[in-house]
């Protein structure tokens, strides 16, 4: 049986064929026993498909749904899940644009290429009056001591 005929038989079974086409196919079924056997097999398979009757709607079903609807409305008409699609799309696009901008700025930032040195770190902590921050210097000493086991003399 060709695929086209199989589709036609299925459509005939489902009542999806136009009246003229259905008439022609029925005439073919009378003339061609093999095709008629195919149709009977298809019909049998179709009719043997049975499912149990559906369960009835449980009592209070609408009420439960409406309670969820009201609680959702009360808990956040501004919630992310209840936001319209256009709001979510705009927010997602803004996030993406922000992230791309951040990456671009980060790459072009001159300070990003400078390798950090202890001098630079301390210099960066100088206050406007030109005095060293004693707390920063103390921390630096602790870091150097812990990484070298206290053998190297700490920088001021």
């Amino acid at each position: 049986m060709t695929s086209g005929t199989e589709h036609e038989l299925m459509s005939l079974l489902r009542g999806e064929l136009a009246a003229e086409e259905a008439r022609e196919l029925r005439a073919r079924l009378r003339r061609e026993p093999e095709l008629a056997a195919d149709y009977r097999r298809l019909e049998q398979t179709w009719n043997r498909l049975e499912l149990p009757p559906p369960s009835p709607v449980p009592p209070g079903f609408t009420g439960r749904i409406m309670a969820r609807v009201r609680s959702e409305r009360a808990s956040g008409s501004l919630s992310w899940s209840s936001a319209p699609n256009w709001v979510r799309a705009t927010a997602a696009a803004s996030l993406l644009a922000g992230a791309l901008l951040g990456i671009g700025v980060g790459r072009s930032w001159p300070a990003a290429d400078a390798s950090p040195t202890p001098e630079g770190a301390i210099a960066g902590l100088k206050v406007s009056s030109g005095e060293d921050l004693s707390l920063a210097a103390g921390y630096w000493k602790l870091i150097v001591e812990s990484t070298t086991g206290g053998e190297t003399e700490a920088r001021p």
Binding site: R14, E16, L49, P52, P54, I65, R68, V69
Partner: protein, 206 residues
């Protein structure tokens, strides 16, 4: 086609209810739930094969519809739109179920053959048993279908939708509906033949 959609939108009062919901009147959603809950529960039950899970799924579907009320464009019938949400939701649940079973290393035969306890409407215990056997066989055969064929078969065979309606629900062409249905029928035919030979050989051994 466009005229048909406009006419359908004008006829179906559900779109008007959804417009009220979108405008902030949540209570306008209740009549919509009332009028569609039966068919949505039935669809979820037939796709999932479990009444309890279907109730949860149908509730989730209505909640999703409520959230989407502001975005929806009135086109066709409201139930088509609701069916689309329901089919997608149930197929996602089935995918998750498959994943959970895979992670639990369940036997492949257990997949998609949930136990269910249909209503006992047959008076005769023997015919009741026979009906249960047929239901179980159908359930298992449907459960083994690829999901795109399963949704088409359930919508056409058990929901009685036309090819055009199924195409609208699933967002595919009528030709695709037809092809999926024919492929599903071939698989089901093979499954039914295998089941018949299994039954005959079991009876022959007795």
């Amino acid at each position: 086609m466009a005229t048909e959609s406009v006419t359908a939108a004008a006829v179906d009062p559900g779109w008007e209810a959804l417009a009220k919901v979108a405008a902030g009147n949540a209570d306008a959603f209740a009549p919509l739930v009332e009028s569609h809950q039966e068919r949505l529960l039935r669809l979820c039950e037939r796709l999932l094969g479990d009444a309890e899970e279907a109730r949860d799924a149908a509730q989730d579907v209505f909640l999703k519809a409520y959230r989407k009320a502001a975005d929806v464009r009135p086109q066709g019938q409201v139930y088509t739109w609701l069916y689309r949400i329901a089919v997608n939701h149930c197929l996602n649940k089935l995918r998750r179920r498959k994943l959970v079973r895979f992670l639990r290393l369940d036997a492949p035969g257990d997949e998609d053959s949930p136990t269910f306890d249909p209503l006992d409407r047959a008076a005769d215990p023997a015919s009741n048993l026979e009906a249960r056997r047929r239901w179980q066989a159908t359930r298992q055969a449907i459960g083994k279908l690829p999901e795109n064929q399963r949704s088409v078969l359930v919508l056409v065979r058990f929901e009685g939708l036309s090819y055009r309606q199924v195409a609208e629900v699933l967002g595919i062409t009528e030709g695709a509906v037809e092809s999926r249905l024919v492929r599903a029928m071939r698989r089901l035919e093979a499954a039914q033949e295998a089941e018949s030979s299994r039954v005959s050989s079991a009876e022959g051994k007795r």
